[in-house]
């Protein structure tokens, strides 16, 4: 066993000498407190270690012992429904062992060693298996069937395989490799977090990730396997938007990383998710969720690790053939952790003190998303979508983290504080946001929701952009100076904003809108616009059109329950026609 001694301590950075036999990125145990750290630089005999725990009380000359392994996570049954810290220690277990505050240097296995699982083999003795092949399943929760895969670096012939109850440590199969060596396979495997899990090929995304959030699904959709960024100043609703997606997205697995954010937000998820029912499975949302928490008061170095821990877990489920959605809130805190370590290492800073490699690290992280075909002889198709929140200083996205993120992501949901002040939520600005998947997904919407979907979407977008130009004009010359057609556009756009885009996350019906209902809602607003335009052409008065009683019904359509939407839609269309005809008769 190699060990070195501490020569320098500066915050989370510890330098130890006598370490020349250690590898880069090996995990080390620092001092008798057994603090966990990772080697991030080597200079001759000296290793720079970033320590994942508070370093108060460390002394010169204390021991630093290498474990000889890179930072890894345990992958196997027991992940779902758990909450881990940045280096995958189970926080609930720690509460049981140590009480309400986090101690240092505690060692708790990531996955429960005692818990019994029922393993059902799906390969037979004598069968040839390759790395990544599914050799059986464990029903982890009511919703998630956990596929047990052969670790990617193993292959050979199944010599023995046993079903039945087992723990994550029990050997359930023995594989004989080409060299005649036997390998015991457990239902758990380990994987280093800084290395992406292998896949056989990457594919272009083609299906949308349906989130039930109207502004997202209808205007700026994200593809399954795509990446999106939500930048916004504080109070603009980043976290609520992330929570809404985590709750309602049609993903099989959700990995939520609270990275340098508030402790109460994680508590909120922990309280709320078990009680929320997934509309697709009828089961609790917690049965598909994995949580990683490094709250802002937890050690800063572990923040850097937390997003890698999260994405490795997400990749593991992707390899099973699931659609996985990963939320990282917030990547800015992760970047700040990088900056802090970089400063301690006395590296030459790039912009605003961030290290020069900020952009490439971010790109590497986001590029682990995608739609892929897994390795193994029966390849499965899985997707990993990543949604990263960015917290730009002062809400100004010209800062380095936002800019580096925008270079990579294809969907940008720009949050706007002026919308938030008006309590227009989600405060996603429709003029600055974009989705580069719109074209790729238009086919899917056309085939699965409605032929008209794309043209309705275009009408809505056009109304919104024309409105902003018209509003400029109104500010200069007043609303009376506009032509009736333009005033109608403003009225219709207002209806789009208030009746369609505005969505109350805390309202029981409004919190989730199916794609079909979204289509009906867009259709209602567009029908109002089209029909009114005709009426206007036939000489109707704009004041009459803007004060139709039916508009209140259109406004309340979002609160109509999913099963009643079809009837209510017909009623409103009929009413609209009746009211407009009434005017024409009077003339």
């Amino acid at each position: 066993m190699n060990y070195g001694t501490i020569t320098k301590i500066s915050g989370p950075l510890v330098v130890a000498s006598g370490m020349k036999n250690t590898n880069m990125f090996d995990v080390v145990k620092v001092s008798d407190l057994n603090l966990i750290g990772e080697v991030i630089e080597m200079h001759g005999d000296d290793a720079s270690v970033q320590v994942y725990e508070e370093t108060s009380g460390l002394r010169q000359g204390e021991k630093v012992v290498s474990t000889g392994e890179p930072l890894s996570v345990e992958l196997g049954p027991g992940l779902i429904g758990s909450i881990f810290d940045g280096i995958q220690r189970p926080l609930r277990e720690i509460v049981k062992l140590c009480g309400t505050n986090l101690p240092r240097g505690i060692e708790v296995p990531s996955l429960d060693r005692e818990k019994q699982w029922v393993f059902e083999p799906s390969v037979a003795v004598g069968e040839r298996v390759f790395g990544g092949d599914i050799i059986g399943t464990v029903q982890e929760t009511d919703v998630v069937s956990h596929k047990i895969m052969l670790p990617p670096d193993k292959s050979g012939i199944i010599k023995e395989i046993t079903g039945g109850t087992c723990t994550v440590d029990d050997v359930v199969a023995i594989v004989l490799d080409e060299k005649g060596q036997e390998h015991g396979i457990t239902i758990m495997q380990k994987w280093p977090v800084r290395k992406g899990r292998p896949y056989s090929k990457k594919l272009s995304p083609k299906e949308p990730l349906i989130t039930g959030q109207r502004v997202i699904d209808s205007l700026f959709p994200l593809a399954k396997g795509g990446v999106a960024a939500i930048p916004g100043p504080f109070g603009s609703g980043k976290t609520v938007t992330q929570h809404q997606i985590a709750k309602w997205a049609d993903a099989d697995i959700v990995v939520y990383i609270g990275c340098g954010e508030r402790g109460n937000e994680m508590t909120d998820v922990l309280n709320e998710f078990p009680e929320l029912i997934d509309p697709r499975t009828g089961k609790s949302l917690m049965e598909r969720t994995v949580l990683i928490a490094n709250t802002s008061d937890m050690p800063v170095a572990a923040r850097e690790a937390s997003i890698y821990t999260g994405i490795t877990i997400a990749e593991y489920f992707r390899d099973m053939g699931y659609n996985v959605a990963l939320m990282a809130d917030s990547t800015s805190r992760w970047a700040e952790a990088l900056r802090e370590m970089s400063g301690r290492l006395e590296e030459m800073p790039g912009e605003e003190g961030y290290p020069a490699y900020l952009g490439s690290r971010l790109a590497q992280f986001y590029e682990r998303a995608g739609r892929v075909e897994s390795v193994g002889k029966n390849p499965r198709e899985g997707t990993l979508s990543v949604i990263g929140a960015v917290s730009p200083a002062g809400g100004d996205i010209s800062e380095p983290v936002s800019q580096a993120t925008l270079r990579i992501v294809k969907v940008f949901w720009g949050l706007d504080s002026s919308l938030a002040y008006k309590r227009h939520f989600p405060a996603i600005n429709w003029l600055t946001s974009y989705s580069l998947y719109t074209n790729a997904l238009s086919e899917w919407f056309k085939n699965n929701i409605s032929e008209e979907w794309n043209s309705l979407r275009d009408t809505v977008m056009l109304l919104l952009s024309e409105e902003s130009e018209l509003q400029e004009m109104v500010k200069l010359v007043g609303i009376d100076a506009l032509s009736p057609e333009d005033r109608l556009k403003i009225e219709a756009a207002r209806s789009v904003r208030e009746d369609f885009l505005h969505q109350a996350a805390f309202h029981e019906t409004d919190t989730y809108t199916s794609s079909h209902k979204q289509y009906l809602m867009m259709k209602l607003v567009c029908e109002y616009y089209e029909k009114s335009r005709e009426a206007l052409a036939n000489g109707a008065d704009i004041n009459f059109i803007s004060s139709l009683a039916v508009r209140e019904k259109i406004g309340r359509f979002k609160y109509v329950k999913e099963e009643e939407t079809e009837d209510e839609f017909e009623n409103i269309i009929a009413l609209l026609e009746k009211e407009l005809c009434g005017e024409e008769k009077e003339d």
Binding site: E54, L102, R262, N264
Partner: protein, 455 residues
């Protein structure tokens, strides 16, 4: 007997370099003894080989490189705590400052605290009635929340904070409460205002004060919030009290942090503040909250003054990213004579949704709150338009909105420093104001509540 070192080799600003030191721990507390016998406190900031960089908590006046001695105590910075702290005044480093005797400690606590396990937090959801409409009605405070007041020089943040401390109560409960007050770099007058206000209400007997005034050493302030929160944690989680912590002024604290960072020649982040300021502030603010299996709670109201009224300045900006909302005071409202001058649109309480509604405040609270916000936002837009184009340019409905915005400021927000409104009063005032608008405009309110309250 701890070793004494006479090897101070450099003193610059708040930093001091000691050579040939062995066996000290990172963050350990040290003591410097001057020739005169005077003692000063410091802590280990960095260890590099046998060189130790220490940060002083007091001014460096009188330190002599050849005959001052340094001792390391083997401990972290600690605070002696006991229930006798209530009613006492301490300096920024936790030493009695009211002429009274030292505290006989029940125990000594490390002031740095340890992070709360997020799996062991209890979500704050008990409504605190502050008696201030702009807070209770629109930016509701709950027990265990951290809700800062973003102010600026010349605005009455002290009055608002004192009003909250005076009036705050949880309806239908008479739990034990305490106030912890931490003053960092404020003037004697401001500090005295708080003390007087606590005295007037008798709250002084349940108050612990840590006072670092403007003329006290700036670097002492770095420890002050940690002292205050350690005392608060003891009272809340050991003694089961509901503790309201008021800290003023965070801006001075952040400046002291910058001073140390600059002296260390660290790469600065924005505006010269250290890159780790987010983490540092979070380690203070995140100590607020509630825990499972603990009775008490810590509700934190930090006050900060925004330099140049700029909300995007790093101090308010980073604070806003950590705290659960913010109450923003506005100079424009203050000039109009509105007290408290709370600018409700950019203000926010993130935890309000769990603290309001049936059984907590009233069932119509959420809907009216949303409606008031959006109506006031639209009213303000209309008023802007009116300034440019004149009243004639507004439609009839827009005129109503403009009227609503004026009335809202005058009757809802403005209530003076001594009015204590119940939440029902606040909600009813809201309904009175909404009646200015026609019913069809109130889209954010369910028909059920409109039927009951509007007509």
């Amino acid at each position: 007997m701890p070793k004494e070192y006479r090897t101070i080799s450099e003193v610059a600003g708040p930093l001091m370099l000691v050579k040939d030191v062995t066996g000290v721990a990172y963050n350990e507390l040290g003591e410097i003894e001057l020739q005169s016998g005077e003692r000063k406190r410091c802590r280990v900031l960095e260890i590099s080989g046998t060189d130790v960089l220490v940060q002083l908590f007091e001014s460096s006046v009188g330190i002599n490189l050849s005959n001052s001695k340094v001792r390391f105590t083997g401990k972290q910075m600690e605070l002696a705590v006991s229930e006798d702290m209530l009613g006492r005044v301490f300096d920024g480093l936790g030493r009695p400052a009211d002429g009274g005797p030292s505290i006989i400690p029940e125990k000594r606590l490390d002031v740095n605290g340890t992070p709360i396990n997020p799996a062991a937090r209890r979500y704050p959801e008990e409504f605190i009635q502050t008696g201030v409409s702009a807070i209770d009605g629109l930016n509701t405070l709950v027990r265990g929340q951290k809700l800062p007041i973003f102010s600026a020089s010349g605005l009455p943040h002290a009055e608002l904070a004192a009003q909250i401390a005076r009036q705050a109560k949880v309806l239908g409960s008479d739990d034990k409460f305490a106030v912890v007050f931490a003053a960092m770099g404020i003037t004697f007058e401001e500090s005295d205002y708080f003390i007087q206000s606590f005295k007037d209400t008798g709250a002084i007997d349940r108050t612990v004060m840590f006072v670092n005034l403007a003329n006290d050493p700036a670097i002492e302030r770095i420890a002050t919030p940690k002292m205050a929160l350690t005392a608060a944690e003891y009272l809340a989680f050991d003694k089961g009290m509901h503790v309201l912590v008021i800290m003023t002024d965070i801006t001075n604290y952040a400046d002291a942090l910058r001073e140390v960072s600059a002296a260390r020649k660290e790469v600065p982040g924005r505006r010269g503040y250290p890159g780790y300021m987010y983490t540092d502030l979070a380690s203070i603010y995140e100590r607020a909250g509630r825990k499972k299996d603990c009775e008490g709670s810590i509700t934190l109201i930090p006050i900060l003054t925004m330099p140049e009224d700029d909300k995007t300045h790093p101090i308010p900006d980073l604070t806003g990213y950590i705290t659960e909302g913010q109450i923003i005071l506005s100079r424009a409202l203050y000039r109009k004579g509105i007290t408290p001058p709370v600018d409700v649109l950019p203000s926010l309480s993130r935890l309000k949704d769990k603290g309001i509604g049936e059984g907590k405040t009233r069932e119509d609270h959420r809907d009216t709150m949303n409606q008031l916000f959006s109506a006031y936002a639209r009213g303000k837009e209309c008023k802007e338009l009116m300034v440019i184009l004149g009243e004639a340019a507004l439609t009839d409905i827009d005129k109503l909105y403009a009227e609503f915005a004026d009335e809202f400021e005058k009757t809802y927000v403005s209530q003076g420093s001594f009015a204590d409104r119940t939440v029902e009063e606040t909600l009813d005032i809201g309904w009175q104001l909404l009646k200015i608008l026609p019913r069809s405009e109130l889209k954010r309110i369910s028909d059920k509540y409109l039927d009951e309250y509007y007509d």
